[in-house]
């Protein structure tokens, strides 16, 4: 899990570089700081289980099993990307690893994830579906409609709310009345709240919820408290007007998920700093070769632009 989290961190650093050096079209929403959520949750899933992801989705894709080189290629709009470059940062989908796609409509994938769980139940496939979304998606009515049906029909779906405190540039306390989990509890959905910076805690909680779902006990709602280190997207640099600098520094210094995991592994004598350094160095090599692959990869042919509109 350390290696996975380090990979996501390094991937996002590299994405930021690609943006700053104007090598990447469009924008990207970086996942740095939230790695323990994606990794902890996906560690508890099988490859055949489904996830749906969000605009801040690179971490989910990597944690579910996507490879760095084809992810970079997708971000750069290259033919070798997961979606032939037609998805880009906000729409990476990789059905081979169970990733039904990131979604640029806030809350937009709640239906898809719930529908995937519905289909899994109908096909008796024993798969579960995880719906990742930010706490901003709690403002969307779709989520409540599908949570209601998921509860009525006991669907194997887990709603993972990544509460990084901000809906874009607005603190969630200004947009969200009451307790977050109370919204799921109203439908009789089982809820848990975990420290989203503690990968073991996220993993353990998800594992239980996955088992419940596979036993046919229905949906769950997992609130993971976390924090994004960068701006809302790569271009959101001056953000003191909505988020104090001290707050950012405090989360990075005291609650960094990688540091926390490293400390725990070393304290438990499960690893030592040397091994962790080696993992970091290997990850760096993977990222560098991945980005080099993507930069050198060809763009799709012009005729591709209106292909794949219809199956």
């Amino acid at each position: 899990m350390y290696q996975q989290m380090a990979k996501i961190r390094a991937f996002e650093e590299q994405v930021n570089e690609l943006y700053k050096s104007a090598k990447m079209p469009g924008l990207a929403h970086l996942y740095s700081g939230e790695e323990a959520v994606a990794v902890g949750v996906c560690e508890a899933l099988q490859k055949t289980d489904y996830i749906t992801s969000t605009h801040r989705g690179h971490g989910h894709c990597l944690a579910k099993g996507a490879s760095v080189d084809r992810m970079f290629a997708e971000l750069l709009g290259k033919e070798a990307g997961y979606c032939k470059g037609k998805g880009g940062s906000m729409h990476i989908a990789d059905p081979d690893s169970g990733n039904l796609g990131a979604n640029a409509i806030v809350g937009g994938s709640a239906g898809i994830a719930t529908g995937a769980a519905f289909s899994a139940k109908m096909r008796k496939s024993n798969q579960v579906a995880v719906c990742f979304f930010g706490e901003g998606a709690l403002g969307q009515g779709l989520l409540y409609e599908v949570m209601n049906m998921a509860s009525l029909w006991k669907l194997p779906v887990i709603y993972v709310c990544e509460n990084n405190l901000y809906n874009e540039y607005t603190h969630h306390s200004e947009t969200t009345a009451g307790e977050l989990v109370a919204r799921a509890q109203a439908f009789g959905i089982h809820t848990e709240i975990v420290d989203g910076q503690d990968v073991h805690g996220v993993y353990a909680a998800t594992q239980q919820l996955v088992e419940r779902a596979r036993r046919g006990e229905g949906p769950a709602f997992l609130q993971c408290n976390t924090y994004r280190y960068y701006g809302h997207h790569v271009g959101d640099i001056n953000r003191a007007y909505y988020r104090p600098k001290d707050e950012e520094e405090e989360w990075k210094a005291k609650r960094d998920p990688l540091t926390k995991l490293a400390e725990r592994l070393i304290a438990g004598k499960l690893t030592d700093q040397k091994i962790l350094d080696r993992i970091q160095a290997e990850v760096q090599i993977e990222i560098e070769s991945g980005v080099a692959f993507a930069l050198n990869a060809p763009f799709p042919d012009v005729h591709e632009v209106d292909e794949d509109v219809y199956a």
């Binding site: 032939k84 989908a93 796609g101 979604n103 239906g111 779709l142 199956a311």
Partner: protein
């Protein structure tokens, strides 16, 4: 073969039942679709044959059950989603336009969304402004969607079977008043391909392009015209996307005149699109 007459509603029901027998992945989901068989009674009897696991009543949550349909379609089953009134399409637009229509493209062709959204159009039940619209132009505008708009029991059955077998999202519009319309429908299996117009009456002097219930109106008009010595051809595109441009153009070329009759709003609508296709291609 003796001719067999059934209603439009019966044709829809037969298409669904045959496809559900043929393919166990096909199911129906929507409001009051099971025991009630919809307010129009189009689906009566299906729950008795296929059970509540395949004819599924939902809460009154159009975006929610539409979204669940999309996710289910992406993962190996084939939903037929019932949207009771075409006016309620407006509530489902994100799921249809941003999700269903985009998934295949955005995934570079890796994922498919084989789903049918059955809904209604037409103002003639006189149910006022929120239950009378014909919004087929909205969805015809969006790449990634196909749109069928049958006018007869025969077409309704054949086109619905094609819609269910199609690997793309299809929006299927049924005129509310047509449900009781009777017509010949063979007992044998058949399907009708999308994008093939049908000449409902042959003529030489003027082309009447008509959609859905307007086909009956156009046929009545053609009969009147016949009385005064004008021979009108009535042609029904049957699907607004794909649109059988060449058949429309051929007919207009032959008659040198065309009128387009459709129940949707005129501005930026189906009539304008078809008129421009004909103006472009025939004159």
């Amino acid at each position: 073969m003796p001719e067999r007459e059934i209603t439009f509603a019966e044709a829809i029901r037969e298409a669904l039942a045959e496809e559900m027998r043929r393919d166990s992945r096909v199911f129906i989901v929507g409001e009051d679709v099971a025991e009630a068989g919809t307010p129009f009674k189009v689906l009566s009897g299906l729950v008795e044959e296929f059970g509540k696991d395949r004819v599924i009543d939902t809460p009154i949550s159009e975006p929610g059950f539409t979204g669940i349909g999309v996710g289910a379609a992406m993962t190996g089953v084939r939903p037929v989603v019932d949207i009771m009134f075409g006016d309620f399409l407006t509530l489902t637009m994100d799921q249809i336009v941003n999700q269903a229509a985009k998934v295949h493209y955005m995934s570079g062709g890796k994922m498919k969304v084989p789903i049918v959204f059955r809904t209604t159009l037409g103002a003639t039940r006189r149910s006022a402004a929120q239950h009378s619209q014909s919004l087929h132009a909205w969805v015809s505008h969006v790449p990634g969607l196909k749109v069928a708009i049958p006018s007869t029991p025969y077409d309704a059955k054949g086109l619905l079977k094609t819609a269910i077998r199609d690997d793309n999202p299809v929006v299927f519009f049924e005129d509310k008043l047509s449900y009781k319309l009777k017509g010949n429908v063979p007992a044998e299996e058949y399907t009708i391909p999308f994008g093939v117009a049908d000449i409902k009456r042959k003529g030489d002097d003027i082309t009447l392009v008509a959609t859905s219930s307007m086909v009956q109106v156009a046929l009545a008009a053609a009969e009147l015209l016949n009385g005064v010595g004008i021979s009108a051809e009535v042609i029904d595109p049957r699907t607004t996307f794909p649109l059988d441009k060449s058949a429309l153009i051929e007919s207009a070329k032959k008659t040198s005149r065309a009128i387009v009759i459709d129940e949707g709003y005129e501005r930026y609508g189906v009539t304008a699109e078809i008129a421009s296709v004909i103006a472009d291609g025939a004159f």
